[in-house]
């Protein structure tokens, strides 16, 4: 797999040469967000199977890369997600109730049921709205970073995409513009080895994703995406470079999608379970937990209590939002434009009349 940045050793201790030196509170918070994302995924997939939410895209196996990268950024930095990063939204302070309400798409959903599950947004945390189109967020992140540079704001943008995303035209134009304009962007490729059914070796003939950065005139680094501390270390350095005018960085987090692409996907159709099992032995949650234990700040009781606490928090959030009614009829027509033009007003009035007043 070539040279990769790693921090947590087999014995659970951090390699002093690469350790980002998180405080005890920081490393516990990191673990908490990762475990929350894992727990959320399990619960939401189960809600989907029960027919209570329509769809879900789990991130199992990628929590270190997702949470670690968001954790390494500063709050005023902007995050441009792909669509598999609920842990990043949680790091940004998005309340569980808002996130879960988006999955239900009901009246409590901040975006009024307009998008399928997993397409949430949280402006208060500089967490951008999500499109399902792979790669289209990449030029947006570059433009926002470029704008920050024009305004002389010392911030950076973090943009997530997968190995599949690196094949898109938007990846190319985004990387190229970022290189030319030295946009303060951290490109985080979550190389999870599979783009639905397509394995990495059929996605690109490039030996690594990271090496693609060379052609755009900036650095690419490869990091063990199962090692949250390694991701934090790599993204912190990339963020520092971006913020201080040293330009963009491509970070390739080598990871694995342990679950299906989405609730509609059956990965047994295209990949060998033995491969999954091999990666499962490097579960990012286990790796960070071993580190916490080795560091002497964690034990089985604490872990059990945290599992319970997070599970309860999710249960509580589901209960708080699930029973809400569908969004009001108006919400179908508002926000297309800032001010509703005549044709939308007319369409709203027509459907209101046909449905007999009310919503």
């Amino acid at each position: 797999m070539g040279d990769m940045l790693r921090v947590v050793r087999e014995d659970g201790h951090a390699d002093p040469a690469t350790d980002p030196k998180l405080s005890k509170d920081e490393v516990l918070a990191l673990y908490r967000f990762m475990l929350l994302e894992r727990t959320l995924d399990g619960r939401m997939l189960s809600l989907q199977r029960q027919g209570r939410i329509g769809f879900y895209g789990p991130s199992v196996g990628q929590e270190a890369a997702i949470v670690g990268a968001a954790f390494a950024m500063e709050p005023r930095d902007w995050i441009f997600p792909q669509y598999r990063e609920p842990g990043a939204a949680l790091v940004r302070g998005m309340p569980l109730t808002e996130l879960i309400a988006q999955f239900f798409g009901n009246e409590k959903d901040p975006i009024h049921g307009r998008q399928m599950p997993c397409h949430y947004v949280y402006r208060a945390g500089n967490y951008m709205s999500i499109s399902s189109v792979v790669g289209s967020q990449i030029p947006l992140a570059v433009g926002a970073g470029w704008a920050a540079r024009i305004r002389k704001d010392p911030i950076a943008c973090l943009v997530y995409f997968g190995d599949g995303g690196t094949s898109t035209a938007d990846f190319h134009v985004g990387m190229n513009f970022a290189g030319v304009f030295r946009a303060p962007v951290v490109f985080l490729c979550n190389n999870n080895q599979w783009a639905i059914s397509l394995p990495l070796r059929k996605q690109t003939a490039s030996e690594t994703i990271a090496q693609k950065a060379v052609a755009y005139g900036f650095d690419g680094v490869r990091v063990d995406g199962m090692d949250a501390l390694a991701v934090v270390a790599a993204v912190r350095e990339a963020q520092r470079r971006a913020r201080t005018g040293e330009g963009p960085t491509l970070v390739e987090a080598v990871t694995y999608r342990l679950g299906p692409h989405s609730s509609s996907d059956d990965p047994t159709r295209y990949r060998d379970e033995k491969e999954v099992e091999a990666w499962r032995r490097r579960d990012p949650i286990d790796i960070l937990r071993n580190h916490l234990v080795a560091r002497g700040v964690w034990d089985a009781d604490a872990d059990k209590a945290l599992h319970q606490e997070l599970d309860d928090a999710i249960t509580e959030a589901v209960h708080a939002v699930e029973a809400a009614p569908p969004p009001p009829l108006d919400a179908l027509f508002t926000d297309v434009y800032e001010e509703m033009p005549w044709h939308l007003r007319e369409e709203l009035e027509d459907i209101r009349r046909i449905r007999g007043g009310g919503g």
Binding site: V121, Y122, S136, G143, F177, D335, Y337
Partner: protein, 323 residues
Amino acid sequence: MPPMNIVQAVNNALREEMRRDDRVVLLGEDIGRNGGVFRCTEGLIDEFPDRVFDTPLAEGGIIGTAIGMALYGLRPVPEIQFLDFIYSAFDQIVSEAAKMRYRSGGQYSVPMVIRTPFGGGIKGGHYHSQSSEAYFCHTPGLKVVVPSTPYDTKGLLVSAIRDPDPVLFLEPKKIYRAFREEVPEGDYTVPLGDAAVRREGKDVSLFAWGYMTHVCLEAAKRAAEKGIECDVVDLRTLVPFDLDAVLDSVKKTGRAVVVYEAPKTGGFGAEISAQIAERAIEYLRAPILRVAGFDTPFPYTLEDVYMPNADRVFAAIQKAMTF
């Protein structure tokens, strides 16, 4: 102020808006030192060296990064060198810019104006001539604006830049330098969504936008020599278009001819025809007629045959009158 042509009106509007609002930035191919291939941005890089950007040659990158700038709080005005080159940015326009306000529940918006020359008449063949406004009119969340005079060009462009939503601003390249008129210096706007009646008449309504407005005026002049008085309505904004202006005219004349350069099938003129049919059929004394480009790719040598001209519009006027 000396009279201006459309190119000068674009330049003047951009310059004044950039002076007024430091969030306004320009980006595109060859728009800096070269002033744009049509010279619309000439000299702006001298006054605003940090806000005019020559970009790499990638329309998807120009629009994608402009959207990011707008999200961040700037007011980008990207230029696409020819509308014919916009398609590699189509996904960014349709999937990102147009849907951003809606899909984010109003948390984010994309106040951006995409300026681009469109239309035929310059011997540009397939890829420097097309009028593909219908694709964009079919995209909720976008506004589509088409000036036909220098005065309107400035007033509409200023309105578009100040608009909170993404606007596609289509500049009729055939008449970029065709004529000049008085364009006031300083602040004025032409509101989006208002049509202009360019000529009044009681017999036939002609509906058009951009260069076709002038074709209609020529046909109307010829019709007047035969004693037929035409109303010529320049829509100016296609989304949202001025329904009242369309209906007022049709109710007065009872005859409608819709003129557009794009391929006839599914063109925006078909929408105007349908709206008239739905709302004013009882006023009609003749079928609604369309004079449009043909359902072929835009041709090179025979472009004069392809593009609607006064002869074809006049023929439609006569057909409507003799029905």
